[in-house]
Symmetry: C2
Subunit: 392 residues, 2 copies
């Protein structure tokens, strides 16, 4: 009897490519995230790509506009900067909400693409020049000085942008929130009205692509300098009403601009500025709840004391952003130390520090950036223990 | 034998409150949308509230922060303007993507709340003053003139804001897209990776709350004047990179500002301005796909001819926004005629006109608002048949 030759290790792994070994150092051993639906046998996750936009894919298929077997042509889509793996990428506890290999799929999973696997990148990295009126004004008034490289004479701001879709490793999420995986899966199932029965029936599937928004990182300076040079960070949770429309009831856009200015100055002096924009509208309660709370606050007399209370009356909680999941993106980028954290939030600060990143300075918003109607928010936050710099 | 008394008609309906009769004129007969999960027996829809943020509710329950039986206290949350039903509210084909009664639940479903039904508003209406640097500059330069009522001397803009969650009546969506309901439900199920098995197992449930973003309406002027006075409309699909960060590769924020300026002028002359902001990032393909396409466009030479082609290579389609679903919000607000439609998009124009709204004038973007790097987009759109005003 002729003994079977033992295949080389990497081939053995490829022969069973749809097992995910979260945290494995070698991407081929870690396994690709296959969330596409063109070939159900390839899938190894719960859910699919593009967050809730998969619902629109359903419409596109139903109406005959999208070929359900479509395989993306990913030629020329590769990241504009070379991402280098760091220790956090192979730490199964440090990164549990994104796929560290998500931007490099065509590179690291090339053998799988050749076998016909339909693997979609979950991260995309590109460059842009931003034209923001407040930054232009800061240049005109001399508060910011153009350098011709990062900040242009006309106020244009050169950035590298990272769009990141959520990829949740459920055992890691459970550990982070200090609950059992089974209880987490049950709550996720029940409180979405039964979304994805695999959450409670397929415990072998450990990765979930939830239909929620992800994050976008705006990086100023040289990303390769993150580990060595000073780093300024603003982690900004979406507030469409202020970020886009400048609503005067809160400080979101003013604080976003402040964060960008701090990032620019750090990048100009050889460091790196990171503004992380996360899609967690209205403290992850959504905009309908937010507007309901606005009305309640105004009608009961808009005082700092009632600020969080009204939210709890309507939503049952004051906040659902789960900042303990937020630092993953910083670890992914290789941040070990933040020289300037532009935030007053204790929740953000605590989450970052507890995840093992050192924070040297906390930068509160400049008083001159606060709209008149937003002092209620600021005072409520200070009363609730937000950092205001005054005790430092 | 004593015959059973026949209960009055309205009581009979309340006795079986969880049947939805989409398009019924009387809200009690139409039935309330019950998507909450606190009492599964009350539910009469597929999915739950707050779009994808229900996933965060799952985290909040799992970690013990949110009582799974929480019933919102909706006191003082009511709309700041009185919505008056119009004919479209009782037309089961005209409005199929939102609940016309969604802002008035505490008022029209009061008997159901008394019976302990956990009914959440799917629409919230509040007021705000917007501080946008471009509008302030337009006031300073004299292009816009403050009136002290809508536009303040400091450039502050007074608006009424409507946050609207999607509520999909599946037979109506199918009809709008010209497909069979069964095929629609199958595609929605399969292309989300099996989200909500009820899509293919519970044909008695006709309403779906999809985990996608909704729309926000910014209304300038008196909403009660919509039927009588001139109306200007900008329907703006989300582009976070431009709307918030002013990315120079597209014209989104400049066009949004242009739309707001047109809305202000119409409101100042006694009409109504409506800017509708819909959460359809990157033509509803999502931001990761968008950034992949940017890279492909730049690397193959960024010419107008390749603009849509690169999107199709990556995504399989050039657009998934399904503008035919968009006019519902205009009908809900009572729009019958648009005097000025601030858009170059034939898809938007066709959808609005085909839904029965007359459009008198189409307003293309002003050339001086187009960033240098965005001419590729404008030229590609013109070549693809977008309206540019030059043939008018």
């Amino acid at each position: 009897m002729v003994s079977q030759p033992i295949p080389p290790k990497s081939l053995r792994v490829i022969a069973k490519p749809n097992t995910i070994r979260w945290g494995a150092a070698d991407p081929i051993k870690r396994g690709a995230i296959v969330g596409t639906v063109s070939n159900p046998k390839q899938r190894n996750v719960i859910g699919t790509h593009a967050g809730g936009y998969s619902v629109y894919e359903g419409l596109a298929v139903a109406s005959g506009q999208l070929d359900p077997q479509h395989q993306p042509n990913l030629q020329h889509t590769q990241p504009v900067v070379a991402m280098r793996p760091n220790a956090a990428w192979r730490n199964r506890e440090r990164i549990v909400t994104l796929d560290p290999w998500g931007a490099m799929t065509t590179e690291v999973f090339a053998p799988l693409y050749e076998q016909g696997y339909n693997i979609r990148p979950t991260i995309a990295i590109t460059r842009a020049t931003l034209n923001m009126p407040e930054i232009q004004q800061a240049v005109q008034s001399g508060r910011l000085e153009p350098d011709g490289e990062i900040l242009l004479a006309d106020g244009g701001l050169r950035v590298t942008k990272f769009a990141i879709e959520p990829v949740w490793y459920l055992p890691g999420i459970a550990q982070r929130l200090n609950v059992r995986e089974k209880a987490l899966r049950r709550a996720l199932h029940d409180h979405t009205g039964g979304m994805y029965p695999e959450l409670i029936s397929r415990f072998d599937l450990k990765v979930f692509l939830p239909p929620i928004g992800g994050a976008t990182v705006y990086l100023m300076g040289d990303h390769a300098a993150i580990a060595e040079q000073p780093v300024t960070v603003r982690v900004h949770d979406e507030c469409n009403g202020s970020d886009v429309f400048g609503s005067d009831i809160c400080t979101c856009r003013p604080y976003l601009i402040h964060g960008l200015e701090e990032c620019i100055e750090t990048a100009q002096s050889g460091g790196v500025g990171l503004t992380v924009y996360t899609r967690k509208e209205g403290r992850a309660l959504g905009e309908v709840t937010k507007f309901l709370v606005y009305n309640a606050r105004k009608q009961v007399g808009d005082e700092a004391e009632g600020y969080f209370e009204r939210t709890e009356c309507v939503a049952g909680v004051t906040d659902m952003r789960f900042q303990e999941l937020m630092p993953d993106v910083l670890h992914w980028l290789g941040v070990k130390r933040i020289d300037r954290l532009v935030s007053m939030s204790d929740m953000k600060y605590d989450a970052i520090v507890e995840s093992g990143i050192e924070v040297l300075n906390r930068i509160p918003i400049r008083a001159d950036l606060i709209p008149a109607d937003a002092w209620v928010e600021i005072n409520a936050k200070k009363a609730a223990g937000y950092y205001d710099g005054s005790t430092d």
